[in-house]
Amino acid sequence: MKKDKFKIDNINLKSRLIVGTGKYKNLSETAKAVKASGANMVTVAVRRVNVLDKKKPLLMDYINPKKIHYLPNTAGCFNSKDALRTLRLAREMGGWKMVKLEILGDKKTLYPDMIETIKSTKVLVKEGFKVLVYCTDDPLQAKKLEDNGASAIMPLAAPIGSGLGIHNKLNISLIIKQSKIPVIIDAGIGTASDATIAMEMGCDGVLINSAIAMSKNPILMAEAFKNAVIAGRESFLAGRMKKNSFAVASSPKKGVIS
């Protein structure tokens, strides 16, 4: 079999699992979970430094950006202006052009505002950013993002942090079929089997934060997701058997003792 490569724009990734770094008990747990997940891309947020805190533990001291790709996000941004400001600062900080755009439209559902999202994608692409876009599972909006130069489409499985799993398989499969750029499920995955299902459907990758960080044992769950994504991908590549409405015996019918 040809080696199964995963590439987003010009970046080769060893794992099809991307993990978030939020919600962990502390930075040490974050680092251990990232390691156990086998991911070599992590999402990170951009926030004000508490200048008066002398200790200031830094994410960069726990997860080395030279070894693991940082994917800065725009979490908490509700309009294009704030998102662009955040990502320009992120680029200045790390020098990386690959970013996760996420513009939320509503505090209760954290549902993406696609009008602002498409507007920002255009601007960012023009400025040379490689944009991975958190979006609704609407095939039309996903197509618009692709047409406007997005590097990857990241539809939600269910609302952020809900852990409900993939709620609209039909839409996700339509997006997979039409997209020429990677489709990565972002948000709403609850447990390892959800990730396997996404990968078996033909998603190129999954992005997981809460399902690992909020589990009872995040480090073990990180490993579970690593295996789940590999299993799902291999299953997709292998191609599942045909479904039958009735039983089809597994043992030969010939030679049964009578």
């Binding site: 978030g20 770094t21 939020g22 919600k23 962990y24 930075l27 974050t30 999402t43 990170v44 947020a45 951009v46 926030r47 004000r48 430094v49 508490n50 200048v51 008066l52 002398k54 200031k56 830094l58 994410l59 960069m60 940082y70 800065p72 996000n73 979490a75 400001r85 320009r88 600062l89 992120a90 200045e92 900080m93 790390g94 952020i160 942090g161 948000a187 992005l207 934060n209 809460s210």
Partner: protein, 67 residues
């Protein structure tokens, strides 16, 4: 002394201090943060040149855990 705001907090600084001086004062590693002065990004290469004046507003940001 000049009065400026860092991340929304009012502080007093030496006259003609640079952005870089402020990073030093608060023990911030310039390679691990990004700076905005009055809404405009100050590239790392200009941090020493950029002097601060009364009523300037600085934002200092870093990467933290996020999803």
């Amino acid at each position: 002394m000049a009065k400026i705001q860092i991340n929304g907090k009012k502080v007093s600084i030496e006259n003609r201090a640079s952005v870089f001086d402020i990073l030093k004062k608060y023990k911030l590693n310039s390679t691990k943060v990004a700076i905005e002065l009055n809404g405009i990004i100050v590239p790392r290469s200009l941090q020493k040149k950029k002097k601060l004046k009364n009523n300037d507003k600085i934002e200092v940001v870093q990467f933290i855990g996020g999803g």
